[in-house]
Amino acid sequence: MLRKSILILFSWLLVNSLAHAILTIEITSGSEGAQPIAIVPFQWVGKGTRPASLKNIIAADLQRSGQFSPLPNKDLISQPHQGTEVKYKTWRALNVGYLVVGKIQVMADDSYQIQFQLLDVFKGRQLAGYSIRSLNSGLRRTAHHISDIIYKTITGEEGAFNTHISYITVTKDKQNKKRYQLAIADADGYNEKIIYSSSQPLMSPSWSPDGTRLAYVSFLNGRPEIYVQNIFSAKKEKLVSFKGLNNAPRWSPDGKHLALTLSKDGNPEIYIMNINSRKLTRITRSYAIDTEPEWLPGGKGLIFTSDRGGSPQLYEVKLNRNKPIGRAQRLTFEGNYNSRASVSNDGRYIAMVHRTQGKFRIAVLERETKHFNVLTNGNLDESPSFAPNGRMIIYATEEKFRGILSVVSVDGRARQRLSFKQGDVREPVWSPYKINK
């Protein structure tokens, strides 16, 4: 009897648990790809000529991140300008997950009131909606700002569209003499500003962590010396001028130090300089060439290029209060040329110039997994620099014997060429998030 009741109880429990067990389906694969997003051209409300297309700026931003795949205009089945006009069902048929609609209202003072909404097509609801006042001249920045909002809403991460880049351009003047220029521009290459121009070569710009200054190498005095310049006031000062080479400055994360390459002791070695006291700490000691230092997050180490192993490779040295700890460890083993490291903000990725089959390309090493991924397919791709969110890398490449800039997503899926009307563009560096003014 007892046994029977136990049996009954047990089977009851079993049946009960089966009845209440929730069916779980496990999905282990999908298609690798960017999220489709539809951005409807913003409605223009008012007189005057229509300025730059917000839609195009936003679409290019999102495309460049590699996370989104904006629908081409011809695929837009209708052109609503606010959420209430959207017929979600028709957009669902396009299999597009997100929809951006908005309008630009011209105000009396010629500024713009921009309204936009980011909509979840399948859930039929608004994910974000803003009304932003924008100056006529600030329209592109407002567009980047909107891109950042969309990016953050959908991915949860900061976008890096409303940031800047700095780079060196080389042009020829009327006498056919080369002019070297230090430039800053929006992250998409627009709104270029030349902040320093020289007849002598300029190299290796580096942003201060607060985004207000640039350190760079100038050959103004016939040999490489390091200058620091305020980007707003254009005020500059020569910071480092030892005998020999003064190269490859990189601002430390705390903004108080520079890592740099000096050959004052005969052989190019890595040093750390305290900017205030000008005190130097020597980091490397080898007969080989050690150069192109790059800081790890938090100043916990330096990654640099060295040919101590016979070919240029990346090495890492750990730091404690800017003093080296132990021997430098080699990081790269793919191929016989890896140089010019750029580290993502979270330290997860190291981008570098990698030579493969005689061509220089941008590659990424994922530190934890040691996954090595070549992202670009040019012949002479160089100077990779991570966006502050670690999702994109800007680099210089060659197109028709002219240097241009391109952006590639960290997974190599999206590559976008930035347009420059003229000149040879080199050595781009991406700014930190905020440029304080």
Partner: protein
């Protein structure tokens, strides 16, 4: 001789006369009271008597009176005797009565004793009867229990057979159901996978669970993250995949749908 002489000579005559009269009155008092004619008759006689009186007659009367007296005495005696006898009889009767009473009492005591005994006996009998009845009842009950047990055993046996049958049917049904579940699980997996667009670069080792609510048509009513991967882009891609895969392929059986497919979890785990 006149009556008065007689009386004078023999005053006792008068006394006797009075006594006789009184006695007569007493003797017939009851009838005198009750019957007027008798009185009148008696008065007449007396009147006649008074007229026809003479010596002999007086003598005779005296004799008569004497006789009467005698008779009266005799009567008196007789009465006395009678009374005596009556008294005696009464006494005798009383004694007799007492004897009877005594006897009755005795009898009563005996009876009482007898009745107690009898009651005891009766009670004993009754008890014995009850015992017997109980015994009988017990037996009957035992028989009934035995019968019930047998019936129950039979019922259990039948039930077991039915249960076995049910179990086997249930197993069959479950097997069929499981096959159905597997089929639709595969179809849903396929459709959601096809609709899942994500990037490896979202991060490594990301896993999230989306709770899906379906309409009987398979249309997705809601898809919500119930266990986040910690990466919003990944979670959203999973939610979108579920929404894009709407309508889900679902079984036609509304019962199975209600139990298994109305609400389900989809786990996105590309690391596997």
């Amino acid at each position: 001789m006149t009556i008065w002489q007689t009386i004078r000579n023999n005053p006792s005559v008068l006394a006797w006369a009075i006594i006789i009269h009184v006695l007569a009155f007493i003797a017939i008092g009851v009838s005198f009271k009750s019957s007027d004619p008798k009185i009148s008759t008696f008065k007449k006689e007396k009147v006649i008597e008074a007229i026809a009186v003479d010596e002999s007659k007086i003598q005779e009367e005296i004799n008569k009176l004497k006789k009467a007296d005698k008779r009266k005495k005799r009567d008196q005696k007789r009465l006395q005797d009678k009374a005596k006898k009556a008294k005696k009889d009464r006494k005798k009767e009383e004694r007799k009565l007492q004897a009877i009473k005594k006897k009755q009492k005795e009898q009563e005591v005996i009876n009482k004793k007898k009745s107690i005994k009898e009651n005891k006996r009766l009670a004993e009998i009754e008890r014995k009867q009850k015992e017997t009845q109980n015994e009988l009842n017990k037996l009957e009950k035992q028989q009934q229990e035995k019968k019930a047990l047998l019936e129950k055993e039979e019922k259990d046996r039948q039930e077991k057979i039915a249960e076995k049958k049910r179990a086997s049917e249930k197993r069959k049904r479950e097997e069929h159901e499981n096959a159905e579940i597997e089929k639709y699980r595969y179809l849903i997996n396929n459709k959601v996978s096809r609709n899942w667009i994500y990037l490896d670069s979202y991060g490594k080792g990301l896993v999230c669970i989306i709770e899906i609510r379906l309409l009987p048509s398979g249309d997705v009513l809601s898809a919500n993250v119930i266990q986040s991967s910690g990466n919003i882009a990944f979670d959203r891609s999973a939610e979108l995949a579920a929404m894009r895969a709407s309508p889900f392929p679902v079984p036609k059986s509304t019962d199975l749908f209600q139990r298994k497919f109305r609400k389900m979890n989809v786990k996105f785990n590309p690391t596997k």
